[in-house]
Amino acid sequence: DVKVTQSSRYLVKRTGEKVFLECVQDMDHENMFWYRQDPGLGLRLIYFSYDVKMKEKGDIPEGYSVSREKKERFSLILESASTNQTSMYLCASSSLTSGRDGTGELFFGEGSRLTVL
C-alpha cells in the first residue's frame, strides 16, 4: 500500500524557533509537494520538488525553505517560526504515472498541525 509519512502529527513551537517538518514516501515518486491548509483558504502550495535537489516555489514560499537530498524525503523548514505560520501542513507525492490508470494522482500524508506561540 502506498504511503506518505509525515514525521509529526502535532507540534508546538515558539516564535523564532527553527522548525523542521519531514516527509517520506515509499513509492519512488519523482514529485513531492508541501501545502499548508487554513480554514476558508483551502490548500496553498508552498514548494514542490520534481527531482532530488530540485525545488520550485509555489504560491506562498515566503518564510519557508525546503530540502530534497534523497528521492524519498522532502523537508520543509521554517527558519524562524512566526505565529502566522500556525497551520496544518500537508505533504504529497506523485509521479507522471502514479495512481490508477497513470493519472498522476497525488498521495497525501496525514498532515502536521503546527502551532507557533
Binding site: 483551502g42 497525501f108 496525514e110
Partner: protein, 111 residues
Amino acid sequence: LAKTTQPISMDSYEGQEVNITCSHNNIATNDYITWYQQFPSQGPRFIIQGYKTKVTNEVASLFIPADRKSSTLSLPRVSLSDTAVYYCLVGGTLSSYKLIFGSGTRLLVRP
C-alpha cells in the same frame, strides 16, 4: 496556470445525486481535470480525473463539455459519509507539476 472556481458549499440529503461544478476558463490544451475529496484531519484523496467528455468510475462521474472551460463532478446517491470538501484541480500529468488547489466545495449530506 488555470485557476478554478467552485461553490463554497452545498447541501444535500442522503440518496440524492449531487453535482458540483468547477469553472476553469483558462485551461490549457494539455491540462487534465482532477477532483479530490478531503475529510477532516486527513489529506485529500483522489476521486476521478478526465480530459474531455465523460469519465466514470466506481465512486463518481466527471462531465466535461467540449470547450473544457468547466467540469461537473457527479456523486450518485450520496450518503452521510460523503460529507467532505471537494477540490477541483487543473493541470498535472502532461503539463505543469505545479498543482493548485482552490478553496474547494464543502458538501454537507443530511439524513
